[in-house]
């Protein structure tokens, strides 16, 4: 299901490029492994909080399906990560994220305004940051 993407000031955080470069791994370590990442708005960081519906450990990309709470509405977001091999090398495992996990994710949203984006970073319910992808 595709829903209209409406950014609200409370939940979408625009940060300048200068600030973005402070975030490690922001430039998609596996560039063009499959397609150009110009489809993601790398000048924008969006913070999403919610429950994981599914962690797709698949090629050519892994995805976090997040049920994000935004302005009192539950929206499903698809967050693209690298492929299993790349994630495995960085310490990720298929069970690193499970359905029901509460996450705060930072993403670069897709430019088309859909509920999807590129993984930048994540923090678990315990406040600990997850690995970079």
């Amino acid at each position: 299901m595709k829903l209209t993407h409406q950014k609200t000031p409370a939940t979408s955080v625009r940060i300048t490029i200068a600030l973005l470069i402070c975030a490690s791994g922001m430039f998609a370590p596996r560039l063009f492994a499959h397609h150009s990442y110009a489809m993601f708005d790398s000048a924008t960081q969006l913070k999403l909080e919610g429950d994981v519906r599914e962690f797709q450990w698949t090629n050519p990309h892994c995805f976090i399906q997040l049920l994000a709470q935004r302005s009192g509405v539950t929206e499903e977001w698809s967050i693209q990560m690298d492929n299993p091999q790349s994630l495995y090398r960085r310490g990720w495992r298929p069970g690193s994220i499970k359905a029901g996990d509460k996450l705060t994710l930072v993403i670069h949203p897709t430019r088309d305004g859909s509920h999807s984006g590129r993984y930048v970073s994540a923090v678990g319910a315990d406040g600990k940051p997850l690995l970079q992808d």
Binding site: I17, F27, M39
Partner: protein, 286 residues
């Protein structure tokens, strides 16, 4: 009784054949070959994985005006992507002859003049790389090497395989045709495998629409000298000869690093769960 005798006869005959597969002479030849076991990756892939390029890629995003390399129409790739891919030696301008130099410069002007809006959404996409770029694959450039007396096999994570036969010459010309990886045979010079490759399919080295890429003819002839230069580094001295297009042979030296954070070759592919889509002319995830 008759069946038993036939079975006995067959067993007797097959014994020496089976034994031959591991005869002392072959074992000796095997033992004399270098040990290239383990998982390897292209230098660019290793630099990316190790974070060595993070700073320069961040710089590229901060100062896109400083990126002068031309790979695709402006705006089609992120500045960091342009910087990254322009580090590939096999994407540089080859030592073309005058005619192909003119063609290359003309194509470059065309690429620069193409607005990003003219590039059809979804076309800037690749799942695998042909030879020779597969030997410098910047992404998913992970492979395993199997050395046997008869063949050295380079098996890439995306499933592609370079079969380098060391016990035979190329097939006769009438039995060959151009393919993405060409036909390779090799011979050992001490610890160096000298690889001879012919019949690579003519055309750009990077087969992505609108990309500025070197082009070679089907007559291109590749000679590689593959060897280990240290415990964790392998080197491939590649010389490309293509008299129809090059002024002189094109020489590049590629390096591979041993992968230490993988315990096995994990497959990559584009087909399992490809959620990249073009909807209403825009690229998205579905």
């Amino acid at each position: 009784m008759r069946t038993y005798l036939i079975a006995l006869l067959l067993a007797t005959l097959s014994g020496p054949v089976l034994a031959q597969s591991n005869n002392p002479e072959r074992v000796q030849r095997f033992a004399a070959l270098p040990n290239w076991s383990g998982i390897w990756e292209t230098e660019l892939s290793a630099q990316l994985d190790g974070g060595e390029l993070d700073q320069s890629m961040s710089e590229a995003m901060r100062h896109p005006e400083r990126i002068t390399a031309v790979l695709a129409p402006p705006g089609v790739l992120l500045p960091a992507e342009v910087l990254f891919f322009s580090r590939q030696q096999l994407i540089q301008k080859p030592p073309y002859n005058a005619e192909w130099d003119r063609r290359y410069e003309s194509q470059k002007r065309e690429v620069l003049a193409t607005p990003a809006s003219a590039v059809k959404a979804g076309t800037v996409k690749a799942c695998s790389w042909d030879f020779p770029v597969i030997m410098e694959s910047p992404t998913d450039g992970v492979f395993q090497v199997f050395v046997t007396p008869e063949e050295t096999l380079l098996l890439f994570a995306d499933g592609q395989a370079r079969h380098i036969y060391t016990d035979r010459p190329h097939p006769a010309k009438e039995n060959l045709w151009p393919t993405d990886l060409g036909d390779s045979v090799g011979k050992w010079e001490r610890d160096t495998l000298v690889i001879d490759t012919v019949q690579r399919k003519a055309g750009p080295l990077v087969r992505v629409p609108h990309f500025l890429s070197p082009e070679l003819s089907a007559e291109a002839h590749f000679v590689e000298r593959l060897r280990m230069v240290s415990a964790d580094v392998m080197e491939d001295q590649m010389t490309i000869d293509d008299p129809a297009r090059l002024e002189h042979p094109w020489a590049v030296t590629l390096r591979f690093r041993r992968v230490k954070n993988l315990d096995r070759l994990i497959a990559t592919d584009c087909s399992e769960n490809d959620r990249f889509r073009v909807v209403n002319g825009k690229e998205t995830i579905e």
